[in-house]
């Protein structure tokens, strides 16, 4: 049973169906697309789809350059997004994104019961009962793909008249007004960017300094698309970017008086503004799942999850789509997975479908045998072109395991699962990044229950198939393959 019809749910239902797993999908919406039917509020995506790239459109390698298409096995259903974009930007507009998702759902004939609202949930023995506006569903496995798109604001900002992401007025109504935005992450800077041509003054404030994606070389920073207000501040153009906590917000004369305090020296500032906008984050609409025992954490109230996106507290309840970011993986060097975005969770969905098939439904999916000599080139090709590794660095890995008959492709697995699982001797290849250098391949060899890490060098052109890489990886996996051959 899958709840939702955004890209996370669509990818999962597609992947489950390819494995022949019968299931139902319900959605309160009346058409596919999820949050992209309304947002981003300024109508253009943050994630790109390059119409022309080093890899041929529709190939697996092309997925690295196309962050927005859902994944299909059939050639005619792959790389849909570039075919619905008008070419004026490599960031799709919101309507283009919505069109792409609708096209995927229609062309692959996904079956979703639209207009059916999930209302409550209860446990009945080993079954999960999902009460909907159309009656009850009973299922051993429920997957919730309901997004992380409920704007959240701290009690300090629960003041009448304070707006938030999602309920803003038309941009032109902010003409010649002083606007105070609380929050300096992407949503705050998106709002500031959209209002830059209209506002008399914009103040962006939060206690910790802004980090830019181009500085930290990861998506944890503010994206380049939204950096214009930051440049305006840096060049003293009128925007104020402030590291300060909000001490009070008081309505006055149709506007607000906002008082801030510096975390460095405790000094206070007072702003008289016309509008206050909270861009302080989002939560997931989990309804009564916490009452069922689903543990949540962090400001976003994300459910705590296993490496396979199952509730860490209530077995049988899984998550798909952007909620998957609650399964945090290793966060090496502080860099999170891309599970909060389409380009990340579309791969998680495929892994989850296989996991449900094998671990929950007892199916045995085929593994492709590899000749021992093919293991090194196969893994280096994955590091160079495998889209799962590129989009989910240090989070998903290509695994080659070894048994009495030699090596075999054990598929894409969550890296945390590989490291902590006492499975067969195996090697996992992933890509990693440390926030300052180019990405580099990382190899984990699991032998006799112990795991060893080997980091390969970065390459300025990101090509990892040269002789030096072959030699180093061959040395790293030599013992593993040698033991397999001599068994």
């Amino acid at each position: 049973m899958v709840v939702g019809s955004g890209p996370g749910a669509l990818q999962l239902t597609y992947s489950l169906r390819r494995l022949g797993i019968e299931h139902a999908v319900i959605s309160a919406d009346d058409a596919p697309g999820g949050m992209f039917r309304r947002w981003p509020i300024f109508q253009r995506m943050l994630s790109w789809t390059k119409p022309y790239a080093e890899a041929e459109r529709g190939s697996t390698a092309y997925e690295r350059f196309d962050w927005n298409s859902l994944l299909a096995d059939e050639a005619e259903h792959r790389a849909i997004m570039p075919s619905v974009m008008d070419g004026t930007s490599y960031f799709p507009s919101r309507p283009e994104m919505e069109r792409g998702l609708v096209a995927f759902a229609e062309r692959t004939a996904l079956q979703v019961r639209y207009g059916c609202r999930w209302e409550s949930t209860r446990l009945d023995g080993s079954e999960i009962v999902i009460v909907t506006s159309d009656g009850e569903y009973r299922t051993p496995i429920a997957v919730f793909a309901v997004g992380v798109a409920e704007p959240w604001r701290p009690p300090m900002l629960a003041v009448v008249g304070v707006e938030q992401y999602g309920d803003l007025r038309h941009a032109e109504t902010y003409a010649d007004r002083r606007i105070f935005i609380v929050g300096k992450q992407n949503s705050g800077f998106e709002i500031a960017t959209g209002l830059l041509p209209w506002a008399r003054q914009i103040v962006l404030a939060s206690p910790s300094p802004t980090r830019l994606s181009v500085d930290v070389r990861s998506l944890v920073g503010v994206r380049a698309r939204y950096v214009q207000p930051y440049e305006d501040w840096a060049l003293a153009g009128g925007v104020v970017v402030l590291d300060a906590s909000i001490e009070s917000v008081e309505p006055r004369d149709g506007g607000f008086i906002v008082t801030t305090k510096s975390p460095q020296d405790g000094s206070a500032l007072t702003f008289e503004v016309d509008d206050v906008i909270a861009a302080t984050g989002f939560t997931s609409p989990l309804r009564d799942l916490p009452q069922l025992g689903v543990t949540t954490f962090g400001q976003s109230r994300l459910p705590a999850q296993t490496p396979f996106w199952e509730s860490a507290a209530v077995p049988g309840i899984f998550f798909a789509g952007t909620i998957m970011q609650g399964s945090h993986g290793l966060r090496k060097h502080g860099i999170p997975s891309n599970s909060g975005a389409v380009q990340g969770y579309r791969y998680n969905a495929r892994v989850l479908a296989r996991h449900i098939a094998e671990e929950k439904l007892g199916m045995r999916l085929e593994r492709r045998r590899l000749a021992p000599d093919d293991v090194v080139p196969f893994l280096l090709a994955e590091a160079s072109r495998g889209p799962e590794l590129w989009h989910q660095r240090a989070y998903l890995a290509r695994v080659v395991a070894v048994d009495a008959d030699g090596p075999y492709d054990d598929g894409i697995q969550p890296l945390a699962h590989f490291l902590d699982d006492s499975g067969p001797d195996a090697v996992a290849m992933t890509l990693e990044a440390n926030g300052k250098d180019d990405p580099y391949p990382a190899v984990y060899v699991r032998a006799r229950g112990l795991v060893r890490e080997k980091l390969l060098a970065p390459h300025p052109l990101l090509h990892f198939e040269g002789e030096a890489y072959r030699r180093e990886l061959a040395d790293t996996v030599h013992d593993l393959l040698d033991r397999a051959l001599t068994r």
């Binding site: 701290p154 009690p155 929050g183 992450q185 939060s206 206690p207 910790s208 590291d243 300060a244 906590s245 305090k261 510096s262 975390p263 460095q264 405790g266 302080t280 984050g281 543990t295 954490f297 962090g298 400001q299 976003s300 109230r301 705590a304 296993t306 860490a312 507290a313 945090h328 290793l330 966060r331 090496k332 060097h333 502080g334 860099i335 240090a394 490291l419 902590d420 990693e432 440390n434 926030g435 300052k436 795991v451 060893r452 890490e453 980091l455």
Partner: protein, 140 residues
């Protein structure tokens, strides 16, 4: 703002942050991320690069070296700082004993963080001094 709104109050009760006023605590809370681990889940893995500095908000954890349990960590305790300060992979696993709620800062940000909050740096130094003292006593 990636942490829940009760974090500032919790941090105020920990020795490591006891010298900080509320705005500075809020800044600390916003600089760190919140993580949650189920019982038996590994938080830090011995020998693997790219770890971080962790502060326990709730729950307990085991320090495990080469598979042997050595000590227990509790709310207010922190770990991972040695690996961060030396730029080397951790020399032990840290494993959640029961559900564990932590704040985490990537190693790469620890130096800037400590320099920006000298009172936290001093408290951390006191903690490290205690560890050295206890180890010396144990060895003798």
């Amino acid at each position: 703002m990636e942490v829940r709104d009760d974090v500032v109050d919790i941090l105020a009760g920990f020795a490591l942050f006891s010298d900080l006023a509320t705005p500075e605590l809020e800044s600390v809370a916003q600089t760190l991320d919140e993580s949650w681990f189920k019982a038996d889940e590994r938080v830090i893995r011995q020998g693997l690069t790219g770890s971080g500095f962790y502060v326990i908000l709730d729950g307990t954890a085991t320090i495990r070296v080469d598979g042997k349990d050595r000590a227990t960590l509790r709310p207010g305790d922190y770990f991972g700082e040695i690996s961060c300060l030396l730029g080397e992979p951790p020399v032990s696993d840290i494993v959640a004993q029961r559900p564990l709620r932590c704040l985490v800062l990537p190693c790469e940000q620890l130096e800037d963080f400590l320099v920006a909050h000298p009172r936290v740096l001093f408290r951390l130094l006191q903690g490290e001094a205690r560890k050295v003292r206890n180890t010396t006593r144990w060895l003798s």
